[in-house]
């Protein structure tokens, strides 16, 4: 009898320990810790909940930047949580109990590109303004904007959509190399729209809608990759008509393009 009782107690103790040390189940968010630099649906939920609880008054855009970071730290401070600016399981649990999240409202407005807020205590319908909003798709180095990415993706798609991925990154890198080079305009739009600089601008192909691959290639270039090896020109030897371009020192060939200095 004593042995059975002892066994029951051990099993109960083990179960209790397992329960106490198991990860906290939260009825929202994904299971990952959310930290600065993250993007995605759980960042949207984090921002919406922080806003509901009155800690965040920035844009709900799915990008975990400094605005979200300070708001989260303030929330952790107020609720006696470890202040690290990371939404771990404990913070998420507290946030879930201290706020509400109307996922449909938030996602619908993001999809429609509306400007909206998600404050608690005010009817949500009164917190929407049409247009001017939307979700940030890419997380860029701070010196570049979404507009830079879009314009470059248009140029890359117009100029090099049939090229290998490396070639597309290289075309994007050439644009950035020109921005840094003393012989060219010092803005991305200035470089792209410089007369006679890019064929895709001259023939209007720059206004084709770029695909995800072109955007990804631009993103890699904005993050520092340069398969062109510091080139500032490129040309297609089959179609090039300028004699001058052949006089440039050539660096490498990628797909159909020769990259040069």
């Amino acid at each position: 009898m004593k042995k059975i009782l002892l066994r029951i107690m051990i099993v109960a103790l083990l179960l209790g320990t397992a329960y106490a040390t198991s990860p906290i189940k939260i009825d929202a968010f994904s299971s990952r810790d959310i930290a600065r630099g993250a993007t995605g649906d759980d960042v949207i939920e984090l921002q919406a909940r922080l806003q509901y609880a009155g800690f965040y008054n920035g844009k709900i855009d799915g990008k975990f930047g400094y605005g979200t970071y300070w708001a989260l730290r303030n929330f952790q401070d107020k609720y006696g949580l470890p202040i690290d600016g990371i939404a771990g399981s404990q913070t998420k649990k507290k946030l879930t109990s201290a706020s509400k999240y109307d996922q449909k409202f938030v996602m619908d407005n993001l999809k429609k590109g509306n400007q909206f807020t998600h404050y608690g205590g005010t009817p949500l319908s009164a917190q929407v303004k049409k247009g001017g909003g939307g979700r940030e798709n890419m997380n860029l180095p701070s010196k570049y904007s979404q507009q830079d990415l879009n314009l470059m993706a248009n140029a890359v798609y117009g100029e090099a959509r049939g090229e290998p991925y490396e070639g597309q990154v290289a075309v994007a890198a050439v644009i950035l190399n020109r921005v840094e080079h003393p012989d060219f305009p010092d803005t991305i739009s200035g470089v792209i729209f410089q007369p006679l600089a890019f064929t895709a601008v001259a023939d209007g192909q720059i206004w084709l809608t770029p695909n995800e691959r072109a955007k990804e290639a631009v993103l890699d270039a904005l993050n520092g990759w340069d398969p062109s090896e510091n080139s500032i020109y490129y040309f297609n030897p089959i179609t090039a008509t300028s004699k001058w371009i052949w006089s440039r020192p050539q660096v490498k060939k990628i797909g159909l393009h020769i990259f040069c200095h």
């Binding site: 975990f64 200035g190 410089q194 398969p227 050539q250 490498k252």
Partner: protein, 430 residues
């Protein structure tokens, strides 16, 4: 009867087509005139501003003390930037416009940094010469742009002249003379030359590696994708630093790696492949990245930041200088890690290969309460080496500060020279 009908229909169609063609041609002509007027106006504006620039240069020469010429130097910077923008947006010969843009950039920068970088005597010498040359260059500019400004050529005629094999303007001579003026007036400073050399990796002083050794280096670093090397090319003769360009395909992965011939250093690596849904947590990815870098021989790096995107995280690691424990932002490595498996999809080490030459520097005690406005909070304070406007590596206080901006917390990086207290850079963080 049928014949008559046919003639009527054809005649009617001919009239419609003629009216359409006439309207279209008129419309095109109007657009061409509008465009050439706009270009003519921009060229004339640039021409006027060149005169203003020359005046501003002359005005700075009136004073000995740099404070006296401050306003005129600011005008030089502003006007040169304006003209640069105009030149960049005009349909001109590429070599001619790039030479002008370069000259304007240099004269503007020289005026901007004159306080810190040159003696008053030196400034006078350089700008007197520049003023003389600006006059000659302005004459060349007027000559080159006359055809469009005075309406002698339509847009089509102007473009044809630009592309002609024997143009009536000798663009090549004009751009060569601007280049000569640039080299004479504003030669590259020692630090600028260093910066360019670094970028071009010309002066790597290490033994050459063979093609087979370069491929071996690739296989050691990326064994998971190196089973099928599709091709290895040596860089073309015009490359300032020779390298091997290795292309590979392995299963669904396709990509490249560039490895320098001297020393066998990785310049960059990038792989493209379809992505799965499973997601590796950030902390694990960071650990993978750090372990990969150590195994690859990059042992003096510290984590700086990371950004998540659809399929991958982009990581930034910077070198840590051992004496001050300062981050060296010019010696940087980027990593791209797949979210689904944690594979290294990209490595960019171009800027890390030639480490910056750093100098010890005194660290002046700062009173930050006096330095910043009272509503600014310093949240992080460390040391970093960073390049200033004169392309010199300077030790700086690397501060992260916040400020309440109408209920929103604005966050900024501020870099302050430890010796001169000069604010080298201020950057708003999103």
């Amino acid at each position: 009867m049928t014949m008559k009908k046919m003639i009527f229909v054809l005649a009617y169609a001919l009239v419609v087509v003629s009216v359409f063609a006439f309207t279209k041609t008129t419309e095109n002509n109007k657009l061409a005139i509008l465009l050439s007027n706009q270009y003519a106006q921009q060229m004339a504006d640039a021409s006027d501003k060149m005169e203003e620039l020359d005046t501003a240069v002359k005005q700075t020469l009136l004073f000995n003390q740099s404070e006296g010429s401050k306003k005129a130097r600011e005008d030089i910077w502003r006007l040169s930037s304006d003209i640069k923008r105009s030149v960049a947006s005009l349909p001109l010969d590429t070599a001619f416009s790039t030479s002008w843009i370069n000259y304007l950039g240099r004269i503007g920068n020289y005026a901007k940094v004159a306080d810190a970088s040159s003696e008053p005597g030196e400034y006078h010498k350089v700008m007197s010469q520049a003023s003389k040359n600006l006059g000659a260059m302005h004459d060349d500019w007027r000559l080159a742009t006359a055809g469009l400004i005075n309406g002698r050529y339509s847009m089509d005629e102007w473009n044809n002249k630009l592309n002609a094999s024997n143009p009536d303007i000798n663009w090549s001579n004009l751009s060569t003379s601007i280049k000569q003026y640039t080299e004479a007036d504003f030669p590259l400073t020692a630090s600028e030359s260093d910066a360019m050399k670094k970028k071009e990796l010309k002066n790597i002083d290490e033994a050459k590696v063979t093609q087979a050794e370069a491929v071996e280096r690739f296989k050691t670093l990326f064994p998971q994708v190196s089973n099928d090397v599709v091709g290895v090319d040596r860089s073309k003769p015009g490359s300032p630093y020779p390298f091997y360009h290795i292309r590979f395909t392995d299963g669904e992965s396709i990509g490249y790696i560039d490895i320098t011939e001297k020393g066998g250093h990785v310049l960059s690596y990038l792989a493209e492949r379809p992505y799965g849904k499973t997601s590796v947590p950030f902390e694990e990815l960071k650990k993978f990245g750090e372990e990969f870098l150590k195994a690859a021989g990059y042992k003096d790096l510290v984590y700086e930041e990371a950004r998540e995107n659809n399929t991958a995280w982009h990581f930034v690691f910077v070198r840590e200088e051992p004496f001050y424990g300062a981050k060296v932002f010019s010696d940087v490595i980027h990593l791209k890690l797949a979210k689904d498996t944690g594979d290294v999809l990209g490595l960019n080490a171009m800027e890390y290969i030639q480490k910056e030459k750093l100098h010890r520097q005194s660290i002046k005690k700062m009173n930050w309460k006096e330095f910043f406005h009272r509503d600014v909070q310093i949240v992080e304070n460390e040391l970093a080496y960073v390049e200033n406007e004169r392309k010199e590596q300077r030790l700086a206080h690397y501060l992260k500060v916040t400020r309440d901006e109408n209920g929103h917390i604005g966050t900024y990086n501020v870099l302050v020279d430890t010796e001169t207290s000069e604010v080298i850079k201020t950057e708003k963080l999103d």
